[in-house]
Amino acid sequence: MASRVHARDGFVAHVGRTTLETARALADVRTWSPLLVAQMRRLGVDSVPIALFIAVFTGIVLSLLSSYIFTGAVPFYFVGALVGKTVMMELGPVLTGMALAGRVGASIAAELGTMKVTEQVDALETLAYNPRAYLVVPRVLAATLMFPVITAFAMAVGVTSGWITSVNLLDLSTPEFFKGLRLFYRFKDIWFGLVKSASFGAAVALMGCVRGLDAKSGAEGVGQSTTRAVVLGCEAILVLDAFWALVLL
């Protein structure tokens, strides 16, 4: 037990060091800037389908679930309020983050892990590149910038699917759904969700990079790093979710 706590403390210090080194590597703009757009496409644009797939079904389930809860107790137009608030503030950012922790975190850890065990990371150093500037910064920046964009799409699609479900499967009209949606809406609902998702993006990419660059030799080592990156990315999302709720609400 003590050794596990010690290992966890060591890992937290390691993540802190990596974060600092990555922040320093931001100054090496000449290295990371040409790679940023490609990473934004790879980590962001290519992740849109899975995020939207999740958002569609989240909206459907939320509208059905809220109708089940509200029937006979609360006016039905509150379905719109619950779908809107929940998708924008919580489920949009968190479920999108979780899905991308699997896709993006695993992809980064596997790629960097393979580069590490095949000495490609050392090769970068011998060619006078800083691996943090070349590998870590563009991935962390790309994820930080693209997670909110994907989450914004997921919010829109989640609310839309909730609306379509309410109109078609529940005894609710479009004006009633939007009356509920507007009832408790505040602009903060959206930026709260987007700020959270930006932090999720940074955390997921950073965990992927840290675990990838720590990979031990062989396919098994890369596999373990990939698994750990996904688990840590999900854990980081839940911790950050609670943190932002405490700080911003």
Binding site: T118, E119, Q120, D122, A123, E125, T126, L127, A128, N130
Partner: protein, 239 residues
């Protein structure tokens, strides 16, 4: 000149280097021989600043590698080429892109990079492979691209990590010729290998690394005539 002064390095309880001291004179190929796992590659990585020794220092052209800042180390690495045991080519890049990467870092323009890529591929006799990916090359070709990547930067030194391991005898001989040719171009070479045929072919000086220390160092003729039983056993390949 590269000078190793009392390098020690442990991984956990295992002491790999235990006071390695060696001079690598300019304009020659120095070969470090020794069995698998005795720390030959670790020694090279200490020179390049990829591994920090526990004790001791590496001097390159008078600069102590371990005392350099990140920027100074980057500048120093511009003078040293490194050929990895398994080539370590970037598998998502073509051959040309692999060679161009280090040149782009040094600020060469596109035309100069294209010229240098062509020139270095010609040195390793791989002209025409510019657009191939590493996965499309044989092991020997990948190693030659690794040499081309190092040569393209026109370094003062090249460190070769097991350059002939896993190659057939003919491809090994081609690699040996390349290392000799590179030395003849004025590049100082430091080669680690356990391939004695290759060591005697390319080495002007040969040093034996044994139990974490340099057991013997001398010219090719001195090593061939050694009476040290450990060195003798190794070069003769006796069990």
């Amino acid at each position: 000149m590269i000078i190793l002064e009392g390098l020690t390095k442990s991984f956990g309880a295992h002491r790999v280097l235990d006071g390695v001291t060696l001079d690598v004179p300019d304009g020659q190929n120095t070969v470090i021989i020794g069995g698998s796992g005795v720390g030959k590659s670790v020694t090279l990585k200490c020179i390049m600043g990829l591994i920090e020794p526990d004790e001791g220092r590496v001097r390159v052209d008078g600069e102590v590698v371990q005392e350099l800042s990140r920027d100074e180390l980057t500048e120093l690495r511009g003078r040293i080429g490194y050929v990895f045991q398994f080539a370590a080519l970037f598998d998502s890049m073509t051959v040309a892109e692999n060679i161009a990467l280090g040149l782009a870092r040094r600020g060469y323009d596109r035309a100069a990079i294209a010229d240098r890529v062509e020139e270095s591929l010609a040195v390793v006799e791989l002209s025409g492979t510019e657009d191939k990916y590493p996965a499309e090359l044989s092991g020997g070709m990948r190693k030659r691209v690794g040499i081309a990547r190092a040569v393209a930067l026109k370094p003062r030194y090249i460190l070769y990590d097991e350059p002939t391991t896993g190659l057939d005898p003919i491809t090994s001989a081609v690699m040996d010729q390349l290392m000799v040719r590179t030395r003849d171009l004025g590049v100082t070479g430091l080669v680690v290998t356990h391939d004695m045929r290759s060591a005697f072919c390319v080495g002007d000086r040969i040093a034996m690394l044994h139990e974490g220390r340099i057991r013997q160092v001398g010219t090719r003729a001195e090593i061939q005539a050694t009476v040290d039983p450990v060195v003798r056993q190794f070069i003769e390949g006796r069990p």
